[in-house]
Symmetry: D2
Subunit: 281 residues, 4 copies
């Protein structure tokens, strides 16, 4: 029997990938998921509850298992929005009728099972660092100019297929839910022209270290979500929320291999994720 009969020998590119990965370093870009984590009031919070604990049922050989039930929203903690998440005037991305697609209680089009696995270049647009602050002010609108300057500062030009991650520094408020969620004081986030600039650059996905990937004005709440419209509805670009870019910033990351493996939740509108940056030795 020859190898050829048995399976396709790995190509040299595959071998290079494996080799390059071997000594790579991984930097977490999200928060862990835990019971009680900060959560927008629009979504059910995350809860992991053990059903069985060790000792509840001991098998004849001394073995025992523990397992859990998880109750969570699809937009809780670090997660990515499916294109089904938002519609405008009744239509989702590509002009798909939202009412029709959701009939039956699950999206027959643009559901979370279509959110791509990504292994592509990621770029850290560290707006807080570019502005010379630890964290952007509550309610601050991140403009296209801010993004342009943040890219220029690290000498990177966004290219088609990239993932652009915007750091506001807001993740440093994560342990303080009222501030982090910004119900009264607001949250910094990209403006419509920033979103349009990213769409023109051809990014496949973009994310930020805040709850809404929108500029939330003090006291205004999430009245309208224009950036979601530009990205999800008009451009088919997925949005990642609740990133934690503090370690990436401390390490002064610029470009990296971005990896995201969203769950293929059939008919859903989002998926929790564990995004990471991978950099060579």
């Amino acid at each position: 029997m020859t190898t050829a009969d048995a399976g396709h020998e790995a190509t040299s590119t595959t071998r290079e990938l494996i080799q390059a990965a071997r000594d790579a370093r991984t930097i977490e870009l999200g928060h862990p998921h835990f019971t009680g984590m900060p959560c927008s009031p629009n979504h059910p919070g995350f809860r992991m509850t053990l059903i069985r604990r060790h000792g509840d049922m001991v098998r004849p050989d001394g073995g025992s298992a523990s397992n859990e039930i998880i109750v969570t929203g699809g937009h809780v903690g670090t997660h990515v929005d499916a294109l089904s998440h938002v519609s405008h005037d009744g239509l989702m991305h590509g002009g798909i009728d939202a009412a029709e697609a959701q009939t039956g209680g699950s999206f027959s089009a643009l559901g979370a099972e279509h959110t791509p696995f990504l292994l592509t270049r990621g770029v850290l647009l560290d707006v807080a660092a570019t502005k010379g602050v630890e964290v952007l002010p509550a309610g601050y609108g991140v403009t296209a100019d801010d993004l342009r300057q943040s890219a220029a500062r690290i000498g990177v030009e966004l290219a088609r297929g990239d993932v652009a991650l915007i750091r506001t520094g807001w993740a440093s408020h994560f342990a303080d839910p009222p501030t982090y969620l910004g119900q009264s004081a607001g949250v910094p986030g990209p403006t419509v022209d920033a979103a349009q600039w990213l769409a023109e650059a051809g990014v496949v996905t973009t994310g930020a270290d805040t709850t809404a990937y929108e500029q939330i004005q003090p006291g205004a709440g999430h009245a309208v979500l224009p950036v979601h419209r530009v990205l999800l509805v008009e451009s088919g670009i997925h949005i990642i929320e609740h990133l934690n870019l503090e370690e990436a910033s401390a390490l002064r990351l610029t470009e990296f291999l971005f990896v995201m493996a969203p769950l293929r939740i059939v008919g859903g509108t989002g998926s929790p994720i564990r995004p990471v940056a991978v950099v060579g030795a």
Copy 2:
């Protein structure tokens, strides 16, 4: 301002990784997660329910959003076991006392938040193909010899840090839950000596395309789980279950870059995942 002040320029290894990834191809290794998917009676099934649908609340600008609540076990659909999942004689991996670690209702040690992100070599041990069958018989025990022959057939030797995926062909029964779950007729799976062989080879994680990663004899149910003991408790090796290796087998994959990004569910015993194989062009 110089690039050096702004952030660390990507190393050449990072650039190689990004470049290699650019033209790579992704093969899904798991099932999508959907309401009503086959699920062991030991675990709560997966359910995605839309809370809000488009049109439920239309914002002043014509925008509308949909979101969901997800209720699921941690061991439902394609998932990976944390080391907290199984204990033996009251002890988990490394001799950690299970009763103590689980006090409070969440594992203070070996919880799912410690299951590693993986970007490493994966090897497909296609036992069904090696045996010349479409699918192994119900209740069949996959031995160390079966794994050795499957590796030899593709000319691959397992190395420390690899991920070994065992294909029994059982995923072809996925649409037929009674057969797939094997309550009466059993399920094929690795025997203790197969697990020991993998542990000696130094794999970091191993998985199979069945519900239990155990040889389930007809009518026996999951009376004892000796392979879980060998891998999780004695060896600290994570187990992936409910893989779907049909496409990987049809493509005759052998070695590939294996990617898995389990959710860091604090204190949990497992996480749903979307594992993929990445191969060069």
Copy 3:
């Protein structure tokens, strides 16, 4: 200070009620709710999971508490249907537009919060006993004549405001879920003319000891639910399902004080209940 200033002295009727209740006997008419209980595949099953157990957190004085999370459908175990549960040609009871009422994800009309608390006469129509069998055959249609004979047999005439409970004996299959749910062999239940007869008699609520309060033919499943249409949509009569009338039958109950206190679940379509019969000493 006089009693009159302080509160209204109980009336003699109130005192009689209290006195009559004092020596009354209670007979349970439903099943307990437990994890894993038989459940129609149309609904999420019932699950009670302890979150905290005693000892997880011990307060300074030695006190400790345990509590749970409950995940359940609204139509699981012994429960009562709200009028929002069923529509016909887009309309619910009273011609209310179903699509409009459900917008927002909660019924703005006919929701479960409107299902009445009942303390009224209940009548046991023991069709199985009337037919001289332990349990009616699978798929049997209980007719108006069957109900008439069952009422005549106990010398009771239904009156406006009564609750009519139909015993088929099917609860004796409760411990055998495949038979009880009748996916393949069917389930006995009232026919359309039986429902019409009950509606004409003016009952406020009716129930049975089966999963669907419908005649389910072998292999047919719940293709159409004509009795639900007659009762819920056309007549505004609530339906109780999954009763357990075995003890009531063994005690040869005929008339009794029926008590049901459905949860006022705002905008819901049903509520789990614990219905009881109360009889004098």
Copy 4:
């Protein structure tokens, strides 16, 4: 066939009960259960989510059904504590070992399935009215003397088997969750001597219109729960929380027929309820 063969003719006491109930009036003593209702941070909140809506699946005859999934704690909204809820020094009521009883993840003793259906005399101890205030101050301790005076004021003496409901007026804060839950300012509630007085009087159950049935001092949270110990552990008396006694107070109720039908949740620690007062015409 005679009636005697067919079933036991209703006794005259049963007929009196039915007759007395006929013209009775019902007063709700609890809050409806709705998504987003105030909930102690110790418990998962209540959420009712429609799974299917009318129109999602239309049957051949034009019929359609809607149903839901409910996720809730057992101690959310108006509910009653099972005796398994609290332990002291590892023991529950009657000296039952808590750790042993909860093994398996469900209480094998004192679970919610044992909480009795009640149809008995209820007495409204309107402490706020007795004190001449709309609502008692945050953190106020309701003493045995307060209860004695409230009973004397309405000329009622508590008797064995009664249900004693304590009104603080706090339900008027229900629409203002921070105040209602009293995280910072506290909540009024019975003191240990009040609980002992009720236990000596022989009540079977007692309740109040607050979240904890304890005196919660400002800023202190639920550090210790001495009244739970006295009632649940030492006396086997069930506790009802989150009552709404505003209407009962406005109607100046004193004595009434109290009805409560807690779900028999097997192995649980509490049940949502819909308690009512019934008074004669």
